[in-house]
C-alpha cells in the first residue's frame, strides 16, 4: 500500500485535484466562522455590488453577501453530494459483495431489483424522495444515493466474481481458509480500491443531481443557498453582473473535474501493481 500511495502523490493532476477539493471544502466549512456577515442578512442599500473588500464576491439582488452564500451553498451542496455518494458506495459495495459471493437465487433477485432501480432516472428518484420524506430539507439525498447504488453493485459484483474465481482464492482455500476469511481478506482488499474509484464518480454524479435540483428549485428551501440555486439566481443578471452566476457554475465544474481527476489518480496508482514496477 505504501508503494501505491507514493505513486498517487507523484501524480501532479491527482494531487492538485485533491488539494483543490480539500481547499474548497475547508473554505466552505471555515469561512462562515471568520466573517460576521450572515448569509440570510438582507441589506437593500448594498444590493448588486461588485466585489469589494467588504463583500469579496459582491452582493446579490437583495444585498446578501455572495462570499458567505457561496460558502453556505458549498456546505449544502457538497455535504449532500458526499453523503449520498458515500451511502451509495457503502450500500453498493456491501450488496455487490453479497451478490458476487453468495450467487444463485439471492444474486438474481437482487440484480433484478438493481435493474429496476437503474431504469428510473436518478433525478426523478430524487424528486420523489424529496416529496415523500418532507420537502425542502435535503431528503432528496436518499433518492440520489439510491440512484447511485446500481452501477456500484454491478461493478463490485463483477469484481467479486472475478476474485472468488481467482487462483489465489482457490489456493487460499486449499490451505484451509474459511469463507469468511476469503471475503474479509481477499475479496474486500481487492475490491476496496475499485470501490474508492467508483465512489469518486458517484459523488460527482450526486453533485450534478444536487445542483440540477437546486437550479430547478427543488430540494433545498430558500433562503438556504445551494450552488445550483445560486447559479439560477444569478443567471438573470448574466449580462450586467456575470460573476453572480459564473462563480457558482465554475465551482460546480471545478469540483466535478477534481473528483474525476482524483478517481483517475487512484486508478493509475493502483494499476502499477499489475505487473512491471
Amino acid at each position: 500500500m505504501k508503494r501505491k500511495s507514493r505513486a498517487f502523490f507523484h501524480n501532479p493532476a491527482a494531487v492538485t485535484a485533491l488539494l483543490l477539493l480539500l481547499g474548497i471544502i475547508l473554505f466552505c466549512i471555515l469561512y462562515p466562522f471568520f466573517t460576521s456577515v450572515d448569509y440570510r442578512e438582507i441589506n437593500f442599500s448594498e444590493r448588486l455590488q461588485l466585489p469589494s473588500p467588504k463583500h469579496p464576491l459582491g452582493t446579490d439582488e437583495m444585498g446578501r453577501d455572495m462570499m458567505v452564500r457561496m460558502a453556505w451553498g458549498g456546505r449544502v451542496t457538497l455535504s449532500v453530494a458526499f453523503l449520498s455518494g458515500f451511502i451509495a458506495a457503502a450500500a453498493g459495495t456491501g450488496i455487490g459483495v453479497l451478490c458476487g459471493y453468495a450467487g444463485g437465487r439471492i444474486d438474481s433477485v437482487i440484480m433484478r431489483g438493481m435493474d429496476a432501480i437503474a431504469s428510473i432516472p436518478g433525478l426523478l428518484l430524487a424528486i420523489v424522495f424529496d416529496y415523500l420524506l418532507g420537502m425542502g430539507r435535503g431528503n432528496f439525498l436518499f433518492g440520489v444515493a439510491i440512484a447511485g447504488i446500481p452501477p456500484f453493485v454491478r461493478l463490485i459484483r463483477g469484481a467479486v466474481l472475478e476474485i472468488s474465481g481467482s487462483a489465489y482464492v482457490e489456493a487460499s482455500r486449499a490451505l484451509g481458509a474459511t469463507p469468511l476469511h476469503v471475503v474479509r481478506k481477499h475479496v474486500i482488499h481487492n475490491v476496496l480500491p475499485m470501490a474508492a474509484i467508483q465512489a469518486t464518480t458517484s459523488v460527482a454524479d450526486a453533485l450534478t443531481t444536487c445542483t440540477i435540483l437546486g437550479y430547478i428549485g427543488v430540494g433545498i428551501n430558500a433562503p438556504t443557498p445551494e450552488w445550483g440555486a445560486l447559479f439560477d439566481n444569478g443567471k438573470y443578471l448574466l449580462r450586467t453582473l456575470p460573476h453572480l452566476s459564473v462563480i457558482p457554475a465554475v465551482m460546480i465544474v471545478v469540483c466535478i473535474i477534481c473528483l474525476y481527476l482524483l478517481g483517475n489518480g487512484i486508478r493509475d496508482s493502483l494499476s502499477i501493481g499489475g505487473g512491471e514496477v
Partner: protein, 339 residues
C-alpha cells in the same frame, strides 16, 4: 524392510460435472494410493480427470461438480464423507496443495509476510505475530529463498515465477502437512526453474519424509520425482505401477503410445514423433466400451462393447485393457493387491 504404509487410499472415485450440454463424467472409478514418504504421480492429458481427482480429495471442486461415489481414506478417515468444517481443518495442516501458476496463486493485495502469517493463523489462531514472522522466515529460508526478511515485505508482483512457487511451497509446508498435492507445479515455469523446483520437492520429500501426489502431463518431470505413477485417460485409470514398470514395461496401449511420443535424443530429428489416430473423447457421451478404444491401435471388437476392468499384472502393476485380461484371465475389480 517393512512395506511402506498407505497414507491416502482413493477407491472407486467418481466425479461428474453438470454442464449445459449434460452431465460430464470427469472421473470414473479411479483408484490410486499415496504411500508414506513416497511420490505418486498422476499422468494424463488435459481433461483426463487428473486434477479433478485431487480437487475432489480436498473437497475443492467447483460448484457444478459433485462426487458421486468412492472413498478417499486418509489417516483412517474418509475425506469424501467429511463435513466441510472438518475438511477445512485438514486442508493446509495435514494435506496441502500447490498450483500450476504460482504468480496468480498469490493475492496481489498482500505482502508475502502477511500471506504466510495468515496461513499460520488460520490453523494456529493463538500464534503471536512475532512467532508467525519467525516461522515464516525460517520456512522461506528452508525453501532456498535468500534474504527472507526482504522477500516477506514484498508484494507477489515483484517476485519471479520461481520465487513465487517457492513461496507457495513454503506456505503449503508451514503447518507440516503429511501429504502435499502438487497440481502441475512446474508447468508455468521455464525449464531451469522447473529443475530447481523439482530438486526442492525431492529434497523436501527426503528431509521431511513427506508424501507427494504429483499431477503432471510431463513424463520427463514425473520420471524425476515419482516412485509410482498412475496413468489416466478420459477419467479412467488406465495403468498404474512403479515408475520403473511404467517407463520400462508399460502394458497398456495408451501408456505405450505415450512413451513412444516422448522425444528422445537418439532419435533423428527428421523422424516425426508417432501420434495416435482417431478422435479425442467426447466427455458428455462416454462410449460403452473402453474409453481409449477409438484411438487404440490394438482395438478389438470386444473393446468397443465392454469396458475393461483393472487387471493385476503382478508386483503392484495394474492395467485396464482387454488385451491383458485375455492374457491373464485374472480380472480384478479393485487394485487390492496394491495394499
Amino acid at each position: 524392510m517393512n512395506e511402506p504404509q498407505i497414507l491416502l487410499d482413493v477407491q472407486g472415485l467418481r466425479v461428474s460435472f453438470q454442464t449445459p450440454r449434460g452431465s460430464v463424467q470427469a472421473v470414473s472409478d479411479a483408484n490410486f494410493q499415496v504411500r508414506r514418504g513416497e511420490v505418486t504421480g498422476i499422468a494424463g492429458e488435459s481433461g483426463s480427470g487428473k486434477s479433478v481427482s485431487a480437487y475432489a480429495v480436498l473437497g475443492l471442486l467447483a460448484r457444478n461438480a459433485s462426487v458421486e461415489g468412492g472413498s478417499a481414506f486418509f489417516n483412517g478417515r474418509d475425506l469424501l464423507s467429511l463435513e466441510e468444517k472438518e475438511l477445512r481443518k485438514i486442508r493446509g495442516s495435514e494435506i496441502s496443495m500447490i498450483f500450476q501458476d504460482p504468480v496468480t496463486a498469490l493475492d496481489p493485495a498482500f505482502t508475502i509476510g502477511s500471506f504466510l502469517a495468515e496461513v499460520l493463523r488460520s490453523h494456529e489462531p493463538s500464534i503471536s505475530r512475532r512467532e508467525a514472522r519467525r516461522r515464516s522466515a525460517q520456512m522461506l529460508a528452508a525453501m532456498g529463498i535468500p534474504d527472507p526478511e526482504n522477500v516477506m515485505s514484498r508484494y507477489p508482483d515483484s517476485l519471479s515465477g520461481g520465487m513465487c512457487q517457492r513461496v507457495c511451497i513454503a506456505a503449503a509446508l508451514l503447518c507440516t502437512p503429511k501429504l502435499l498435492i502438487a497440481d502441475e507445479p512446474t508447468t508455468a515455469l521455464d525449464v531451469t526453474i522447473q529443475d530447481e523446483i523439482l530438486s526442492l520437492l525431492q529434497q523436501i520429500k527426503e528431509e521431511k519424509d513427506m508424501s507427494i501426489l504429483f499431477i503432471s502431463h510431463d513424463f520427463g518431470v514425473l520420471a524425476r520425482l515419482c516412485d509410482r505413477i498412475c496413468v489416466m485417460y478420459g477419467g479412467f485409470v488406465m495403468e498404474s505401477g512403479s515408475a520403473d514398470q511404467i517407463y520400462h514395461s508399460a502394458a497398456h496401449p495408451y501408456t505405450q503410445a505415450l512413451m513412444r511420443a516422448i522425444p528422445r535424443l537418439e532419435n533423428s530429428a527428421q523422424e516425426p514423433l508417432p501420434s495416435l489416430r482417431g478422435e479425442p473423447l467426447d466427455p458428455v457421451r462416454l462410449p460403452d466400451g473402453c474409453v481409449f478404444a477409438s484411438c487404440c491401435p490394438q482395438c478389438s471388437e470386444e473393446c468397443l462393447r465392454v469396458r475393461p476392468v483393472s487387471t493385476d499384472l503382478g508386483e503392484d502393476h495394474t492395467a485396464a485393457c482387454h488385451k491383458l485380461i485375455r492374457k491373464r484371465k485374472k480380472p480384478l475389480k479393485t487394485a487390492d493387491s496394491m495394499l
